[in-house]
Symmetry: C2
Subunit: 211 residues, 2 copies
């Protein structure tokens, strides 16, 4: 899959490295072009960098992994995203990370869908901390990555990319269920930084068929 990654922080950079290691072609973009170049260099020879519009045009799938305050601008800069698989892991976190700016009657993912018009938005990767995405401290332990969206094909793509990043995909249904997944981001933040557990925390979904 050709993947445009908008945002070259721990989340975007880490996922890009995982995916590049599986042979996907990557183009990174970032507010600071040097960040995108560094992420591409770290991801290896199948990765390059470009502008936000170039990365969006490059990718069959586009990962949106920018701070919430940059989402509107990033989507605008991306240009047309019609038909793209837009995987969003940007969370509507308040500036101090202590609360969500949007919830219950909407979600960050749904706001992204409104902004991104014809794109087929999938929410994914928000339920694992960027550090876990980046450093895989639970290799082999089966970190679950929940995802949701309204387009079955787009979700199939996202599912494959979750697997290729080394995580266990869990289909969490319709995009509206972002309202359920997004608070789980904030919970990990509270556990890591308020409860003092540190950033190596993640969810595993236990599942056993009923008898």
């Amino acid at each position: 899959v050709k993947i445009g990654i908008i945002g070259a922080g721990n989340m975007g950079g880490g996922l890009g490295r995982h995916w590049a290691g599986k042979g996907h072609e990557i183009m990174f973009a970032a507010g600071n072009p040097a960040d995108a170049e560094a992420a591409a260099k770290a991801a290896g020879s199948t990765a390059q960098s470009g502008t936000t519009a170039e990365a969006a045009a490059f990718g069959d799938a586009v990962l949106l992994a920018v701070p919430w305050t940059s989402v509107e601008e990033a989507v605008k800069d991306a240009g047309s995203l019609d038909g793209k698989v837009l995987i969003n892991c940007s969370m509507p976190l308040a500036p101090d990370y202590m609360s969500l700016l949007v919830g219950h009657t909407s979600s960050g993912a749904e706001e992204v869908q409104k902004l991104a018009g014809g794109a087929r938005v999938v929410l994914a990767f928000n339920t694992a901390p960027a550090q876990v995405i980046a450093t895989s401290p639970f290799e082999g332990d089966g970190v679950s990555v929940f995802y949701c969206g309204d387009d079955a094909e787009a979700k199939g793509v996202a599912r494959g990319l979750i697997e290729d990043a080394g995580f266990n995909p869990v289909d969490a249904g319709a995009l509206q269920n972002a309202r359920l997944l997004e608070p789980m981001t904030e919970l990990l933040i509270q556990l890591a930084f308020v409860q003092g557990m540190g950033a190596n925390v993640a969810y595993q979904l236990l599942h056993r068929p009923a008898e």
Copy 2:
């Protein structure tokens, strides 16, 4: 610990059995007294049944495990809960279970705290399905039970009761964090009944100290 359990369904009944097995004294109450009697019989010789007011007076800790539509009445019927450890696992679910009635700017647990005056409310057990609580399909697999509240002593009691029920307690901070934990209930519902995974689903929190 002496425990009053208001609500004798899967959740209240199952927890009561676990706790009775650990030697705690239990008093069940339910809208239908026969349900409370049946739960007490199933829990063994350290369990009895009574009215809601009797169960509330009996317990040093009181578990509120009733449908959301019954919460206001149950708290009223309980009488004074001043100083009680009130462990709430009643979720503000819409009648069809497909959404939460309260969220983001408040939570079911906070509404319970408003209704219950001087009680020291702890939210717990809502992040594991009642069937998992009741049947322990993941014995030995470390189901995490998140809990939150504003009173340290009350939380300590809740923590011990989570352990005694056979689950791994995870301190999720202040009661306001119920806004984060409660959507996790709805997510399990979606996974179990919309995504077709069945009711044997639960969360495990993976945690490894950072290097």
